[in-house]
Amino acid sequence: MRKVKLQMQMSVDGFVGRPNGDLDWIIWQWDDPLKNYVTDLMNSIDLIIIGRKLAEGFIPYWEEAAANSSHPEYTGAQKLAGTPKLVFSNTLEKSPWKNAKIAKHNVVDEIVELRTQAGKDIIVYGGADFVSNLVKENLIDEYHLFINPSAIGEGLSIFNSVNQRKNLNLEKVTAFNCGIVVIMYKPISA
């Protein structure tokens, strides 16, 4: 069965953005092993699921980068722009973007069905509200959390919808020289 993988930047204190969404606390000077980790994740998937709010910035940004061969992240951009996306929205009926469809059903039904379809795995990069709902509904099969060396004290959370304690299984910890530690968890199956 296809897995839903979460790749998310996080502060030491568990936030994924400042209250206004700012990501200025994130380290972007990744070392090669971390770049390889991300490439491996990207090669394991053939679908991106994304909330509408993040899609509005994410999709045009990578489209533009993919069209510009001098962009520093040109190769990654090609892959991101070329990967089909499923956008979850309460307001949009039709996708204004290339390679993107609007989901027809609610997120639980949609993901339950996607998992049974043939294909590679599925990845989600955010945003906070969208992921928060996936966490609450137990729809994440692998958490790849990129812990950045900063505490920001307040901000956006992907855990604040959890209303019943949730235990996870620690699978793997990788510390990178650039200061990021990737912690990988899987849910505890019922």
Partner: protein, 191 residues
């Protein structure tokens, strides 16, 4: 100058305890390997800082360990350090601190910590003491964090990092994984 180290157990969502002060999630993922690592850590320090509530709980527990024939043998070296290390208790209400080698401080915390840092000796470590830690962090008095991240999400609770006037930038010193699912991340604070 000696360092002030905060060693704290937290949930994946950054809480030191639940909203009703629950700590039971500590015990489900604590193991002997972690106790040994904690003892190693404590041997690099010679002073323990604590608040009133943690002091009262610890003083009773560790002071009685030496005369308790059923106390686990493997924890005795740790108990010995707890009893012999210097303890500095920060409280405005406590009248006296009788536990061996304890000192009560109720004055200005910034001044007192600065004094302690300039004294000769090994590092100082803060255990538990959520309220004390919440005072030390926004005053930029912490030099190192050892954050024990437990594999649990509570959804709400008492955050370790709060009331920050600014982002705390850190340098990763190391990461250690325990078989119980806990990850300890060590950071120094960048000035």
């Amino acid at each position: 100058m000696r360092k002030l180290i905060v060693s704290m157990n937290v949930t994946l969502d950054g809480f030191m305890s639940g909203s009703n002060c629950e700590l039971d999630w500590h015990f489900q993922s604590w193991n002997q390997e972690m106790s040994e690592s904690l003892a190693q850590q404590l041997s690099n320090a010679d002073t323990i800082l604590m608040g009133r509530i943690t002091y009262k709980a610890m003083a009773q527990y560790w002071a009685s360990s030496v005369s308790d024939p059923f106390f686990p043998r493997e924890d005795l070296p740790f108990a010995d350090m707890m009893n012999t290390h210097s303890k500095i208790v920060f409280s405005k209400t406590l009248k006296k601190a009788n536990w061996n080698n304890s000192k009560l401080i109720n004055g200005n915390i910034e001044f007192e910590i600065a004094q302690l840092k300039y004294q000769q000796g090994k590092d100082m470590i803060v255990y538990g003491s959520g309220q004390l830690v919440s005072t030390l962090i926004p005053l930029d008095l912490v030099d190192e964090y050892q954050v024990w991240i437990h594999p649990v999400i509570l959804g709400n609770g008492n955050a370790l990092f709060k009331n920050l006037h600014d982002q705390i930038k850190m340098k990763l010193l190391g990461a250690r994984t325990f078989s119980s699912g806990v990850v300890r991340l060590n950071y120094s604070v960048r000035s």
